[in-house]
Symmetry: C2
Subunit: 383 residues, 2 copies
């Protein structure tokens, strides 16, 4: 129950362990096509160029930037957490001119600030932002930010690592040009793959480049020889087994249905919240912008947060995440992602936290969390 | 029995499917340490910086170049197949000045040509070559090439993707500065990881850079915060399950012992060769430079090589590889790698080839291959 990797279902692990076939085997090529179609559903897009890159989410991020940013391009990066900062690093390493729109960690990106930045920087090529900041648990309004960017003809690069499968991501409806995600969050697949999708405008920009993409491994022009339509041309050896696993994870998601998965994540968040608040603890993010799949809980004053995590892990085999960057020591990050977003985990987590914190003499209201979570679950039971 | 991914043993698949734990979990961190130690054995090195990168071999290659090459650096690339050509692409995309030493595909790199190139290009920073060319099945003399490079103070980057675990790779004894490999060849692990090792001189060069590494994902300075000694700092989410699998694959290799694994690869190659030659077919690479784990067999005149591969796959569930680049249509690539280098596969392959080729009316001596392979096996039986 950390910020990912989330628990992987036995079905996905079983698929993972199927015998490895060649990455050009006709049976595997058929699986690739099916996988692309299911990813389109997950991203809610018709983009033909929708597939998993052979590396973790950081590769998805870097692939978007190296393909779309050329030296000298102006890129506005909205930064309200660790991963916005990482986008900035990427822009700079591509030789782009980065303009940073900063917001407080734990708050969403402010659309007004983006509008101002676009006015002050005519000719901006790309607007990049994180939809769901894994470092803080805050969700930004991807639809609004994308609309603003499009209204002045900018492309958008959107980080959906933690949102995909947990809260709505609607690439086509919102008009997102390039998005990347990870497999180890709400898709509940093993870590190591990065689903990406590129729309027509993004692909035109890649085709119109004056310079070569600086990364051979991430060059879309080359990768599409393997993942695109028609004959498969070897680019690199695809991580065959991980792709089996992703295929199975997407099957599971589609069996449940995206809307139901989103509702389940919201529901289990409400149960967790009831337990957390019954202890007298609070959330670091305002309710309207809270990610149901990643709960940033404020560490009570005087509590050794690392010791709490250590006890949860040792006594309950339960991992929750520490704060990152400026949030280090101030929050815990409790994941309720994908397969792991269920009542059993909610009850285990609030019960264990209650016991550990009261055992350490922390200033909480002890003994009420589990019942409160269960009550909330019953009151709002879904599905 | 293609050029990789090779067959993965059930033990490795079982390890792969173990429950996913967090990439900062103390138990996982202990496994990482053990994995690094076992990789050092596999590479025959004491280099502390020896670990698997979170991507396929192409990531290992690119990581070596982006970390070691700065704009304007002169790099000699020895090219005798597809993967040397890929090294060249990498040098150019890093802004390096590439000097190419070309050799015929199917031949090893000529050390005399490297010496000449070094004489004509004083101030060369790096010499890069492929130890075992997966596209042709030819092995170059890595020790000799490294010695020449070192004698004039150059760093070496060596591709050991197909050699590691199959034929001797002795990083310390040969004085290699940076080497990368893949998991899906003679280590018989799933594809998707790239073991790398960097010696002191290479690390000094990385530290002495005037410019930032152009890739955030592959920047050694950042990755070592996670894979190095001491406290683990989050860089990206490690592919936890694939690392379980690699750990198990390295355990298996160490149980057998490197020398025995090399002898087994050589032995099974001799059995395969006996069967291939009994049919009247020949190898594309001279015997002295042949890789036992990757056998380039010349396609007999008038035979539709793709049809042969299609029949092997459909009737025997047997994959062999096509030629790449200038070898396309001219050779088959028959892998005998790691777990898949065994008598059963040799007999299946020569028997199936014999049947399919004679069924298609190809000009071969039919009906003798299996017995010849078995005889050779008995004559030279190892272990």
């Amino acid at each position: 129950m950390g910020p990912g990797p989330s628990d992987v279902s036995p079905r996905v692990l079983e698929a993972l362990a199927r015998p490895t076939v060649g990455h050009l085997d006709p049976a595997f090529v058929a699986l690739m096509e099916d996988l692309k179609e299911r990813l389109r559903y997950t991203f809610q897009t018709q983009n033909p160029i929708t597939f998993p890159l052979s590396g973790p989410g950081s590769v998805g991020m870097e692939a978007c930037f190296v393909n779309l940013v050329e030296p000298g391009d102006t890129v506005i990066v909205c930064r309200n957490g660790v991963f916005g900062g990482r986008m900035l690093e990427n822009v700079e390493r591509c030789g782009g001119r980065a303009v940073v729109v900063d917001d407080t960690w734990g708050s969403p990106v402010d659309p007004n600030k983006l509008e101002d930045a676009l006015k002050s920087n005519p000719g901006t090529k790309i607007v990049a932002f994180v939809h769901a900041e894994t470092s803080t648990g805050a969700q930004s309004d991807a639809r609004a930010l994308t609309e603003i960017a499009r209204s002045v003809g900018c492309l958008t690069i959107v980080d959906t690592v933690t949102s995909l499968g947990g809260t709505p991501v609607k690439v086509d409806e919102w008009g997102i040009d390039a998005a990347y995600s990870g497999t180890q969050k709400c898709l509940s697949c093993v870590p190591g793959l990065s689903p990406v999708t590129f729309g027509e405008r993004a692909l035109s920009a890649v085709k119109a480049r004056r310079t070569k993409v600086q990364s051979w491994f991430m060059d879309l022009n080359l990768i599409m020889g393997y993942w695109g339509e028609g004959k498969r041309t070897y680019h690199h050896t695809a991580p065959v087994n991980s792709l089996y696993a992703l295929h199975e994870a997407l099957l599971i998601l589609q069996e449940e249905g995206l809307e139901k998965a989103w509702a389940r994540h919201a529901h289990n968040h409400r149960s967790l919240r009831a337990g957390i608040e019954a202890m007298g603890l609070s959330f670091a993010v305002e309710e309207a912008h809270r990610l149901p799949q990643l709960n940033a809980v404020s560490v009570p004053a005087g509590v050794d947060e690392a010791e709490v995590r250590r006890r949860l892990l040792e006594d309950y085999s339960l991992e929750i995440g520490a704060g990152l960057g400026s949030m280090a020591g101030k929050i815990w990050r409790v994941g309720l992602m994908g397969h792991a977003s269920n009542l059993r985990n909610v009850l285990l987590c609030v019960g264990a936290l209650d016991t550990v914190l009261s055992g350490m003499g922390a200033p909480i209201r002890a003994g009420r969390a589990v019942a409160a979570a269960l009550d909330a679950h019953r009151a709002g039971a879904v599905g």
